[in-house]
Each structure stands twice: as structure tokens, then as C-alpha cells.
């Protein structure tokens, strides 16, 4: 059974990006509205997995930017063949995959565009769109059966 609360990092989604931090005064903000992506030296950070990186509070990685999603993709691990199609196509890097194992959706960044569902090649699909407020367990319990070939037409 898949982990329905899976996230790549426990620190993620703590805040809304647009109102995230203590509202600093003009004397405290960065010069030129420059934002640093990482805390500390980031020389070799490219070699680390996202969840191991020291993303700063100014990086959208640590904030949710998905508040306006209406429909969400739901992932069914029992059908998935780990082809990575959805991971390749997702425009928001919101498919969480490690060692070519599809693990789930990053709901803090997924905008609900549905591309992952479109490109999923399995029968039935391993990803389907549901209304945002729908419980994941409930959505999984309503997964369609495999379509028979004669049903196609």
C-alpha cells in the first residue's frame, strides 16, 4: 500500500510563498531583492537529492505554491509500471520518484494541470484526476477496472 502522506521533505509546505516570513522592514531586506536559494555553501549541492539539500526559506521548495489547484492527480501504486513518463512530463517537478520507483505526488507544488494523467500509458491509468477535496483513500477505492479491448469502440 502506498504512503498517502508521502512528501519528499518534512519541512516542505510549511508556508505560503507570498506571505511566508516575518515581514521585515526596509533596513532588513536583501539588496536588490536578491533571494538566496540555499543556506550555507552550495558548491556540491547539485549532487544531493532534493530532500537532502539545504533549501533556504526564500526558495519555493520550502513553500507551497499550489493553493489554487482545483483538481488533483491521484496516484495508484498498484497499477503503476514505473515507466517515469509522468516524471518526465510534469512541468512543476511534482512527481516524486526515487531510483526509478514512482512514489507519489508533491501536492505542495502540483498545480493540477493533468499532464501526468494524459501521458500515463497503463490500463487502467495509474494517475487520475479527482476534485481537490476528495480523500485519497476514497479516490483509490473508486479506481476503474481495466478496459477490455472490445469496449474501446
Amino acid at each position: 500500500m502506498q504512503d498517502l502522506k508521502l512528501r519528499a521533505n518534512d519541512n516542505r509546505g510549511l508556508s505560503q510563498l507570498e506571505a511566508g516570513f516575518d515581514l521585515l522592514g526596509w533596513h532588513e531586506i536583501t539588496q536588490g531583492s536578491i533571494l538566496h536559494s540555499f543556506d550555507g555553501d552550495a558548491t556540491n549541492i547539485v549532487n544531493l537529492k532534493a530532500e537532502e539539500r539545504t533549501y533556504s526559506g526564500y526558495n519555493s521548495y520550502t513553500a507551497t505554491v499550489a493553493s489554487w489547484r482545483v483538481d488533483k492527480p491521484v496516484f495508484n501504486i498498484d497499477v503503476c509500471i514505473d515507466c517515469q513518463n509522468c516524471w518526465v512530463w510534469c512541468p512543476d517537478s511534482s512527481i516524486i520518484s526515487r531510483d526509478k520507483q514512482m512514489l507519489g505526488i508533491d501536492y505542495d507544488h502540483c498545480k493540477g494541470c493533468g499532464v501526468c494523467v494524459e501521458v500515463c500509458p497503463t490500463n487502467p491509468k495509474s494517475l487520475l484526476m479527482f476534485a481537490e477535496q476528495r480523500e485519497l483513500g476514497e479516490a483509490l477505492s473508486q479506481w476503474p477496472e481495466k478496459k477490455k479491448k472490445e469496449e474501446k469502440n
Partner: protein, 410 residues
Amino acid sequence: MAEKFDLNEREVWDGNYAASQALRQADVDVVAAYPITPSTPIVENYGSYVANGYIDGEFIMVESEHAAMSGCIGASAAGGRVATATSSQGFALMAEVLYQASGMRLPIVLNVVNRALASPLNVSGDHSDMYLGRDSGWIQMDAFNAQEAYDLTLCAFKIGENHSVRLPVMVHQDGFTTSHTAQNTYPLTDEAAAKFVGKIVPVDDMLDFSRPVTYGAQTESDWHFEHKIKQHKAIMDSRPVIDEVYAEFEKLTGREYKRVESYNMEDADVAIVALGTTVETARIAAEELKSEGIKAGIVAIRCFRPFPFDQVREALKNVKCVSVLDRSSPAGAMGAFFNEVSAALYTTASRPLVTNFIYGLGGRDFSIEEAKRIFKEQQAHADAGHITTDIQQFSGLRGPYLGFFQTKRG
């Protein structure tokens, strides 16, 4: 390594050539440019230095002025020393990107050879483009001749790149009257110029992979105000740095610069406040008026932004009548320069009379005789104790007399 460029102690350079030599000596990393009259020769000369091996840096020809300044922003954010040049419509096309450069606190140097804005199309000098930049968050310095265009361009790098400033800097000169008029110019040696300007020490440069940064963040109502005011304060706070750089330059060359230049102001009763080559015209007029018993002085704004509110006030507090000359169509207002000088004078105890002349649009000549006439008219106001003409008048305009607004004082 760049080829050695032989220079004489005294050269005969026009303003464009002087500015391009300053760019060469400043060892600029990237020049991204799209030439436009009358600033074309700055870029053209620089291109020839590149072609002949005198430049180590990159020269990028782009498809518009918007792209030129955008390229400059990228190169400056990457950590390089960056410069370009433009005029008029090119400057107008850059306008959007000028605000981006200053907002990101990138110390780009822009040579602006002042030219009128169309329509009607005109290639000659006035200050419309210069005025267009006045709220853009750039430091704006004004050269009145070729020597000053050279000197101030070198100073511009040192001011803008100072870590307590970190702002882009424009160096203005008048189209044609300065840019295309060859004059004696005394350049520094390459070694002395390089030593004076120094090496750029980058801040938050995008090529520092140990510390990745985002440039051009979006800030809405909860952040934008603070960022803009931090930037405004930085421009205000650049004043002592500008003074320091001018002082250091004087030590090196003997050529003295001040954010507000004063000529014959020690005992002046009347004054002209002006920008650009007009300053030199008015200086000759003031000298000639001595024999007629008129004590005329000139206050010239070297540093248009940050506006030297305090120094303007100090320079003019003892005169009786001031005329502020605006070389840009005010299009439905008093001249912008008049407004700024008047605002400064309003906070003095003496509150001298202030009048406004719009003059020289589209390169219309401004003669010594006309400067004398304006001085004499200010003397008449001073003698009467109030402004005896309309407050806003037009110098050198054909057609029936035109003027706007009368004084309510006196």
C-alpha cells in the same frame, strides 16, 4: 591580453571619443550595445578597439536598446563590469529595463548622449531623454564638455561599483555640441586610469556557484514598498561616495568636480541654473556682464540624481533672482528642473525669485547674447522686487510672445 593603445598627454577628442576611451581604459567585461545617433560613435569606436585587439572584454551587438540593457543586466548580475551607450528613442526603448537594472542594484554604466525625443523626429541635442531617466533609480551625472565626459565616465564605474552604493550610473553629455565637437582632452595613462577605477568586486554574482541567487523576484504589496525605499535610500546615501570619488579624481588629475558647480557666485545678485553645454555659454555671458555692472553667476548641476537639494539651496541662498533653464518640453507643466530647484529654494529663509525658461529644444542654439538677455531680465526682477514677466517663458522660440503664470508675490 589587450594591445597597448598609444595616447598623447593631450588629445583632440570629441565627447563620444572621450567616452569610448574611458570605457576602453576601464577594462569593461561586457559592452552590449545598439548604436543610435548621436551616441553611435561611442559604440563604433569601441567596436574598432575590439576589432584591433585593444579590448579583453566581450562586445555584444544586440537587436535593440531594450536588448542592450537586458544584456547588460545579465552580464552585471553575473558579476562583470558592464557599460553601454544610447540616446533619445533608444533610451526610451531602454526605459523599462533601466528600472530593472537599478532595482536589482546592478552597477552598469550608461553613456547617454542627450537628444530630443520624437515626434517630430530630431537628431539634435536636448534634455528630453535625460529627464525621462530621472525617476529610474540611476545616478545621473552631467558632462558639459568632452573632457568631463571622459572624466565622469571613469568616475561612474568607481561610484556605481562601490559596495555601499551598488547602483547603475548614467553619464550624460549634450548631443553634437559635446558629442561631436573636438576639444583638447587630457586623458590619464591606461595604468593610471585602471588604478583609479580599480577592479570590480562582485556582489551576489550569479557565477558564484557556491551561493546561487535569484534575480528579479516578484514582490507584491507586502514587500515592494520596502525594496523601493531601500533603493531610494541607497541613491540618497550615494552622495558622500560621489564626493569621495570626485576628491580622489582631483588628487590624481587636478580636475575638480562637485555635485553642484558654481561659477561667479561669490557676490552674484542674479543666477542662471542650467545643465549641459549651456553652462559654458552662460559663464561667458556672466563674464561679459561684469563690465555692465551686473553680478551674474551660474549654478550648474553636475549630479542630477541624487538631486543635490541641499547644495542647490546653499549655492543660491544669497541671490535675488534665479532663472532655471529647462531644455525639455514640459508638456503641460512648469519645467521639471524649475520645479526641483524651486522646491529647494522654497525651504530657504531668503526665497529668491525663480523664473523658468524653456529653451534649446531639438538642438535650437542658445547664444551668449540670449544668456545675457536672461541675466538682465533677472536683474530687472531683482530691482523690482518681484517677477515682472510671466514665470514660464520661452527662449529662442519663433512666433508671437508666449508665457505662462504670473507671480502672486509683490
